[in-house]
Symmetry: C2
Subunit: 251 residues, 2 copies
DNA sequence: AAGTGGTCTAGACCACTGC
DNA sequence: CAGTGGTCTAGACCACTTA
């Protein structure tokens, strides 16, 4: 030990391990010193060793596996491009962060369509009438290489989509946007809003998130040419699995 | 107590508090039961009460203040619009999540310009020559209502910006993009990539982040008409202070 | 001065993993 | 079956906030 003026033992131990990881002493996927190792090497009590490891875990750097050990986490995201439709021509494929794999198979794992009363924010956006507070919601879960990475809930007003193929799991070629266009509600402007936060317990379960992993929340609003909102899609993504990309032209 | 089949005491206690917060029993900013309250009310040991509170803190729902108590956190983000230049005309101001304040004063708090050897990813993007690995970097910190919310590091190649006003703190009207245009390197395409992760210790300090707060990392790349990269701007934002917005037209 | 959260110790039993 | 992390107890001293 001997190191660091930060005083607190667990921080000193955590900092030493963090540096070792950064130095490459413990490459991604490798096993870190366990609680017993830390107790012995640093002469501290059980809880102190655990607290040091908890720092690295909550930073998203390490991951505990019961009965086995604590391991260095890996980061292998996919890129989700929000604007390729517009700018496919100049996509040179380069990404700032190493995203090794642009096209791993993203598949729908679970799908469920129902009518529900949406949360207030959705209801306001969809401008639902007071006497009919329900909307159509299409909930999906996407998996990447077998691991769930994205939850999606797409909300549409009954007045537009009730009784149409949009209430079926298979919406045909072009998906719901093609069906909306056929019904005279072609989406031609989109807004996406993104924020990051720590997951709710149910999200942790559905996305198999390990501790120290935030989620990215994306809300996409689809507008017709007249400014009417025809769909609101709320997505929740495993932040460690995604990079979001937006391309656009200057002024 | 009595509740919950989840077995573990600390989870049961945390779940009860979480529900109470959601119900509105503890509004944002209010004080939660402390360690002593939890020990007494649930008949558990100190560490168990702490563990229950740690769950809420790591979820970003609560915040501990030494010597005072544990409080329910508030979420008051600003919207950062990535594409208003393009679509100012149809901005109706509505946001999915309640972002009460679009225009609180965002100010530069710290600024520092230097020449440095950039990290590998930046160096590759800027296509720096092997014999001159340095680049110009403009580092800034932004504060919102006195709280730091964003760190920005803007990288430019020496071959373009060395010796120009871009190496000064004040770059004049229109900022560095106007200066780049004057020098024959007008940026006319942009790419932004976003990801979320837990903060590094130094980011926690610089942004005054409380536990359970992720950061949003944004990398903006500026291209000239010929596809040359003239600037890479890496930003790190307090995720609890920001909503990122992108507007775009359909196919 | 009383109460709060932060750190730390030294034990205990458990469920799970891996050999 | 030995080792691992997960949970829990019952103490202790400290620095800090609040009144």
């Amino acid at each position: 030990m001997t190191a660091s003026p930060g005083e607190r033992k667990y921080r000193t131990i955590a900092a030493a391990l963090r540096d070792a990881i950064r130095r490459g002493d413990y490459p991604p996927g490798s096993r870190l010193p366990g609680e017993n190792d830390i107790m012995r090497d640093n002469g501290v009590a059980r809880m102190t060793a655990r607290q040091a490891l908890a720092v690295l875990i909550s930073e998203g750097r390490a991951e505990a596996r019961k009965g086995s050990g604590v391991y260095v986490r890996e980061f292998r995201p996919v890129v989700r491009a929000g604007l390729t439709r517009l700018t496919r021509t100049w996509d040179d494929g380069r990404s700032v962060w190493s995203a090794e794999i642009e096209d791993r198979a993203l598949a729908v794992d679970q799908i469920e369509i129902s009518r529900e009363e949406p949360p207030g924010r959705i209801r306001m956006l969809l401008d639902l009438p007071d006497d009919e507070p329900q909307a159509i919601v299409r909930r999906r879960r996407y998996v990447l290489d077998g691991k769930p990475v994205l939850l999606s809930a797409s909300w549409l007003p009954l007045s537009i989509a009730a009784g149409t193929v949009i209430e079926h799991a298979d919406t045909g070629p072009g998906g719901i946007y093609a069906r909306l266009a056929e019904a005279g509600y072609r989406p031609d402007r989109f807004r996406e809003e993104l924020r990051a936060r720590m997951p709710e317990p149910d999200e942790t379960e559905l996305l198999h998130l390990s501790a120290g992993t935030p989620v990215m929340e994306i809300a996409r609003i689809a507008y017709t040419g007249t400014g009417r909102i025809v769909e609101v899609n709320e997505m929740t993504a495993d932040a460690s699995a995604y990079i979001f990309r937006y391309d656009f032209n200057g002024p």
